[in-house]
Amino acid sequence: MPAPLPFRPRRFARLTDQVMRVGLWGLAAAFIAVLLVFVGVILKQGWPVLHLGFLTRMPETLDAGGGIKPEIFNSLYLVALSLAIALPIGLGAGIYMAEYAGQGRALRFLRLCIETLAATPSIVLALFGMIVFVQMMGWSFSIRSGAVTLALLNIPVITRVTEVSLLGVPRELMEASYGLGATKLQTILKVALPYAATGILTGLVLTAGRAFGESAILVFTAGTNTSQVFPDFRLTVPGETLSVHLWYVTSDGTLPDAREIAAGTAAVMIVVLLALNLLVRFLDRAIRRRTR
């Protein structure tokens, strides 16, 4: 309870205050309701489709009853590849920004570029990937075109997360390392990065979630077909992911059970993302426990 005021605000002011308070609680409840309805409906629609056969069959092109086995594989494969490409670059750029760039114009310009890349619509990245990798490099619609273009989406996020995590490393730790005679590189690799690792890992999981859900980029770089071999680790074959499959079956319209397949695929994606979210929370808690 707030302490009693020396005078009471006017009646109208008090009424407004009460109304807005209730209204804001209502708004918050509405947001929660939107999320619950959304997730609930997606899971409910997908539930009848979700059985082992759906997850372990190959997709059909014309008949009902297709599964999503290769799409699951392609999704995981593409996310892993794109992270593997983006991680070294993002880490390097993040380290540069946190430890080398200083405070001057160079840092401001780099940050502007990172922000621009982060804000670039994925359809624009898709066009770039299509021109450069699909057409100019002659990689056509393939896993490698998709992975490299998808990495462009990941790089700014990883850079930012690395920079922020490194800036969170206590200065005394770094100075102690320098005081012991370590070089800058040794200090970064053996003191700063291990300390920042959990934060960077959290960012990586978030990035993986984004890449997992991305579709616009992959429609134009990894294609809407999938190899008939399973599992196919070749980088040159087209690799339709879960999110692309979900979009393609609904917009293409040749499958009699497109609706069911889309609903099932959406449910699988929601389940995966909920799991990733739990992982992030777990990591976050680990960080907070340490810093306390």
Binding site: L24, L35, G90, G92, L185, S251, A266
Partner: protein
């Protein structure tokens, strides 16, 4: 940071070392206590270059995207080597509403107008609700509710756009058309904007919450000491104080909205001639017609038509010009947020 002052150690003055002064001090501080090995120094220098190269790669990417999109997009207006088709004037493309590629008409005004309309409508929903929600999170909610709301926003932002799209397609469209439109199709700006609003609200909420939480507490305390209610403090003091950052949050939300492709493509109806269609039909009020005419935007049209066009054709080049336009808008938006934050600091 050279020496710990000896007086702190309370030593007799005879045991303290003489501290170098003047030129001697400079020489001493320049001389390291020991030297790293050659290999260590080399590794250090190379690492610096490698990290710098990673940073420069990002810069190069920004330029590279601009270059390649421009190289293709410009082909619609200037005869280039790889061109197979006729060229257009800027006027025919940017100021015409007639999009009929098979007849050689490439007016992209309907898509620009579509993008602006759907983005504007989405912001109309998302900006006020997002800012109000952030006030709730930052200033009113108890701790457990704060955590819960953050979770909700994290989940909303993590849901892929195709899942939003399929939700719109399978649930929202049939519901709206059955409930309000006596079963005529509901595809168009209204449903697209509603879905888009849910997609961009987490961006606005998270930035706006930061804005409110970084305000000095003295603002709160001062206005309460003057006898204002909680809401008066929020409305008359906190919102004006956070205005620049709230605007930044909204502008970044706008950036996300204008670039979203897949979710909208699934619910907007994909009709390039939407302006003409809207003009013709007279059976509803103009507002309803705008909201429920199947339409198209820059992004949805790219998704819809890019796979069907041959590289080097005018059609294809115009589509890349649309992509270039989107990219330039992104840059403009980022520069605008820069301006806003500079004004804040000044």
């Amino acid at each position: 940071m050279p020496h710990a002052p000896d007086t702190l150690l309370d030593l007799p003055s005879s045991t303290t070392q003489t501290v170098p002064e003047g030129p001697a001090l400079e020489a001493a501080s320049r001389e390291p206590a020991f030297r790293h090995s050659r290999a260590q120094r080399l590794a250090d220098r190379w690492a610096h270059l490698v990290f710098l190269a990673c940073g420069l790669l990002v810069v190069a990417l920004i330029g590279g995207i601009l270059y390649f999109l421009a190289a293709r997009g410009v082909g619609a207006f200037i005869p280039l080597a790889g061109n197979t088709d006729k060229v257009l004037t800027l006027r025919e493309v940017f100021l015409s509403t007639n999009w009929d590629p098979n007849a050689g008409k490439f007016g992209i005004l309907p898509f620009i107008a579509g993008s602006l309309t759907v983005t504007g409508l989405a912001l109309l929903i998302a900006a006020p609700t997002g800012i109000l929600a952030s006030i709730f999170i930052a200033k009113i909610a108890p701790n457990w509710m704060k955590t819960l709301m953050r979770q909700v926003m994290d989940l909303l932002v993590g849901i892929p756009s195709v899942v939003y799209g399929i939700f719109g397609l399978m649930v929202v469209l049939p519901w709206v058309s059955g409930k309000w439109l006596s079963d005529s199709p509901a595809a168009g700006f209204a449903v697209s904007a509603a879905i888009l609003a849910v997609m961009i609200v987490p961006t606005i909420v998270s930035l706006a919450t930061d804005a409110f939480e970084s305000l000095p507490l003295s603002l709160d305390e001062g206005s309460q000491a003057l006898g204002s209610t909680r809401w008066q403090a929020i409305w008359h003091v906190l919102i004006p104080a956070a205005r620049a950052r709230l605007l930044t949050a909204t502008v970044l939300g706008l950036g996300r909205a204008i670039g979203e492709a897949m979710a909208i493509q699934m619910v907007i109806g994909n009709n390039p001639q939407w302006i003409a269609l809207m003009r013709q039909s007279t059976d509803q009020t103009p507002v309803l017609r705008l909201l429920f005419t199947p339409a198209a935007t820059l992004t949805t049209e790219l998704v819809q038509e890019l796979p069907n066009t041959a590289a080097g054709s005018t059609w294809n080049n115009v589509l890349f010009a649309m992509g270039l336009l989107l990219y330039l808008m992104t840059m403009l938006i980022i520069l605008a947020t820069r301006r806003l934050s500079q004004r804040r600091e000044a």
